[in-house]
């Protein structure tokens, strides 16, 4: 069948970049914005992505026995400012998949917990603008024993991952550009079968997952009230194998995708703690993945946790 739920996988799971980063277009692990000290930004997000065509290896095709494969994601994301230079971020999505044709059962469930530390060690005026450099580390851990080996309808790849990212952001007036490069380590996974074929037979339930690299470039308009940006993202699996002709996809396939998209964020003038985020993207090139189109939206609310109350009732604090 086909592959692709992977859009999501790749993003959230593999690189984490994905939904999360894209959706949370403010204060995410892959943008140039930091939360103020003791600020806590949190909110729900929803995304819908689907594809009808996918790449079987490098061959683009449709599959009449899948129709349109869709993934809905309901997530909760947050960002806490330990200091202005050090933020901690998290997200945890619930994912639901479906195919419109054929007999295959969709799956649903809580996917992976994603945690990041975002550090801005360097910020300096340069020319007419300001240059910031970032270092980001993240991990993702499956939250449930969900099924990885049922692509394209699995809700994720069930791999523990760790990533390291370097990022640079340059802002001049209201215009900015941000670029980042990420290396993602992916741990082996266990599947329900105890033998499987890649390019040869393996007599084990353990699957070696190739690592991945991600490159992200974004540019646009950014001020206190608005963000409007265009994003190009490339995810490349460093290893893995192609789906053979009319075969099923497999978690350790060589999944690559290049997406282009746009994000918008609007901060309510009457209630500046609240922001609305929306965006979308489309896959323009890929391998062993769906030609996915994604739209998403979310709300974020910023709490100020600066009171020295330590543990109790911090959630009620507003700025």
């Amino acid at each position: 069948m086909k592959t692709f739920i992977n859009y999501k996988n790749r993003f959230v799971i593999a690189a984490l970049l994905a939904m999360i980063s894209i959706a949370l277009s403010a204060q995410t692990d892959i943008d140039g914005i930091m939360m103020e000290k003791s600020g806590f930004c949190v909110g729900p997000m929803y995304s819908y992505s689907s594809w009808k065509n996918y790449w079987e290896g490098t061959l683009k095709r449709e599959n009449l026995n899948l129709g349109r494969v869709s993934t809905q994601m309901f997530g909760m994301m947050g960002n806490y400012g330990v200091t202005r230079k050090l933020n901690v971020l998290f997200s945890a999505p619930y994912v639901k998949t479906k195919a419109t044709a054929g007999t295959l059962h969709g799956l649903k469930g809580l996917q992976d917990l994603n945690l990041f530390v975002k550090w801005r060690p360097y910020q300096k005026k340069m020319g007419y603008g300001r240059l910031s450099l970032f270092g980001i580390a993240g991990v993702s851990i499956p939250l449930t024993n969900y099924v990885a080996d049922f692509l394209p309808l699995s809700i994720g790849l069930h791999s523990k991952t760790a990533l390291a990212r370097i990022m640079a952001d340059y802002q001049r007036g209201n215009l900015f550009v941000t670029g980042s490069a990420t290396y993602v380590l992916r741990d082996n996974i266990k599947i329900d079968r105890n033998a499987y074929y890649t390019t040869e037979m393996h007599y084990t339930n353990e699957v070696e997952m190739p690592d991945g690299a991600n490159f992200n470039f974004r540019a646009g308009f950014r001020n206190q009230r608005w963000i409007a940006e265009a994003v190009v993202n490339n995810w490349t699996t460093l290893g893995g194998f192609d789906i053979t002709r009319n075969n099923m996809p497999f978690p350790s396939n060589k999944m690559n995708a290049t997406t282009v998209g746009a994000n918008f964020k609007y901060v309510l003038p009457s209630l500046p703690q609240l922001s609305i985020v929306a965006g979308g993207n489309a896959t323009i090139a890929g391998r062993n993945m769906g030609k996915t189109t994604t739209v998403y939206g979310s709300f974020f609310y910023v709490f100020d946790l600066s009171h020295k109350t330590k543990s109790s009732d911090q959630s009620s604090k507003k700025n």
């Binding site: 069948m1 009449l64 329900d192 079968r193 033998a195 053979t244």
Partner: protein, 517 residues
């Protein structure tokens, strides 16, 4: 709060470091098993009952040169030359092949099956192309190694190896030429020593029989097969297990015996099993005439049924009349309340599947791109046989018993499927969604259940202490098709298990009378 966060950061950093450090190498269960060291060399296996051969001497093996001849000493020196400068790769192939010839060739066959178990993609006009054995590399590649094809392949290779080894054991005992390390005690030996005469080489017999059978079964993979064959023969010489004349005589014998199986295979009616449009239509018409809803393909575009005439293939363990005698009575009528209830049962089972049921379904599904259910049972058998330290001839005999039971189970099951042409649960109720792909052939009776009933029965005879475990596995495999939404529980799975056991009993009967017990 801040402390907690810093703690969290440290945890993340540590986790990231651990990832970097972790070893990703994955080891397969049989990748590094030890060398086969038979607990009993079965010196009298030349008297065991062959499957196709009229007797062990049907193909003559010339008497070997004496071990004091210049020719033989030159062959010993060939071993010494290899051993003088062993590379890592050479040591690795010795280790790999020393685990057992029958085991490794069965694994190679499973590899080929998984590679080729891919349904052809449709033509632009919505029809489907068929693989062509005479042009195996053109798309769709030959073969489409689906479960019946695979079952037959496993059976022919194992049966040919068994017959060839019975003949080999006959000549081993007759000529009684000792192994090279017995002749020359200074020889370095990389495998366990054995009292078994080494002419002709049992490894080369197994290799020769496999190579010859696989020319027919996987004609497009000859480079891969030949490479394995060369490696296997070389491994035995490098190891000091055989001299070249042991190998040459064994390979020739294996090939000659396999030729007899190739001739049988060409005439066993499998070549016509795909049928044609008129025959497919006739089956549908017959079902309608019986007042039943006929099966139809749930694929888009509708795919011709998989090997509808495979039920006519010539079995190994009984004759074609017995195939019909083993065919179970009809399933509940498609218009009956019973069928309605069974369909409803599948729907309620699959509408909100538990994680455990998904696991069971996926563990046993053995669908597209896998070694198929018969291959799964070959793997189960092989991994248990490894622990038994059988001689190669007993290995081959036991694998052949399992494989022939699987092939004959495929024949009886396919005969039943196309005789009744019964619809799948998802056809009766399109709201039923499956946890793995719905196979493209009629429902009654479940193939997985039939294969599992047959395999568990003969395996329980071969390894009695595991009999209950095999029964439990077979029951789970059968159940996996119900909880996965592919089959009705009572009619398809339960009847399939019973029919499979009946087939398996024929293998048990043969086992009890073949002289090996």
């Amino acid at each position: 709060m801040k402390k907690i966060l810093f703690f969290l950061i440290i945890i993340i950093e540590i986790a990231a470091t651990l990832f970097v450090a972790c070893n990703k190498e994955v080891e397969g269960r049989t990748d590094n098993i030890g060398a086969l060291s038979p607990s009993n060399i079965d010196l009298n296996a030349g008297t065991w009952k062959p499957i196709l051969l009229t007797g062990p001497t049907e193909f003559a093996v010339a008497a070997p040169a004496a071990t004091n001849t210049a020719d033989y000493i030159a062959q010993i020196n060939e071993i010494k030359t290899w051993q003088a400068d062993l590379t890592k790769d050479e040591k690795a192939i010795v280790k790999y092949w020393s685990a057992g010839a029958v085991l490794r060739w069965n694994e190679i066959l499973r590899d080929l099956v998984a590679k080729h178990n891919l349904p052809p993609y449709q033509n632009d006009d919505g029809t489907y192309p068929f693989p062509n054995a005479n042009n195996p590399l053109a798309y769709p590649q030959f073969p489409f190694a689906n479960p019946p094809y695979a079952a037959r392949a496993y059976a022919y290779v194992a049966a040919a190896q068994y017959d060839a080894l019975v003949a080999a054991w006959y000549y081993k005992k007759l000529y009684n030429r000792p192994a090279p390390y017995v002749v020359d005690a200074t020889l370095n030996v990389l495998i366990p020593k054995s009292d078994l005469p080494s002419y002709p080489s049992e490894d080369a017999v197994v290799e020769g029989a496999a190579v010859e059978m696989l020319k027919l079964l996987f004609p497009g993979d000859q480079d891969f097969i030949q490479q394995k064959a060369e490696e296997h023969k070389r491994a035995r010489i490098i190891a000091g297990a055989n001299v070249r004349s042991d190998i040459d005589a064994g390979e020739a014998l294996g090939k000659a015996v396999a030729q007899k199986f190739v001739i049988r295979a060409r005439g066993d009616r499998a070549g016509a099993a795909a049928g044609n449009q008129a025959q497919w239509t006739q089956m549908e018409t017959d079902a309608i005439a019986r007042g039943q809803i006929p099966w139809y393909s749930l694929e888009v575009p509708r795919r011709p049924p998989m090997l509808p005439l495979f039920g006519k293939v010539k079995p190994f363990l009984f004759d074609s009349l017995t195939v019909i005698a083993l065919r179970p009575g009809p399933p509940p009528s498609t218009s009956s309340d019973e069928m309605k209830n069974e369909t409803e049962e599948v729907f309620s089972q699959t509408s909100n599947p538990t994680r455990e049921n998904i696991r069971i379904c996926h563990f046993w599904s053995d669908g597209v791109g896998t070694y198929t259910p018969p291959g799964h049972w070959m793997a189960i058998a092989a991994e248990d046989f490894v622990k038994k330290n059988y001689s190669e001839v007993r290995w081959a005999r036991n694998m052949a018993l399992v494989a022939m039971a699987e092939m004959d189970a495929a024949i009886v099951c396919w005969d039943t499927k196309y005789y009744y042409f019964n619809p799948r649960p998802s056809q009766m109720n399109p709201a039923i969604k499956s946890l793995t792909g719905v196979p493209n052939f009629p429902s009654y009776i479940s193939g997985h259940s039939t294969f599992s009933g047959a395999a568990s029965t003969i395996l329980g005879h071969i390894i009695p202490e595991r009999a209950n475990a095999y029964v439990a596995m077979a029951e789970e495999a059968a159940r996996s098709r119900f909880v996965g939404g592919l089959h009705y529980n009572k009619s398809d799975c339960a009847v399939g298990l019973t029919v499979g056991k009946n087939v398996g009993n024929y293998a048990v009967q043969r086992a009890a009378t073949d002289g090996a017990e």
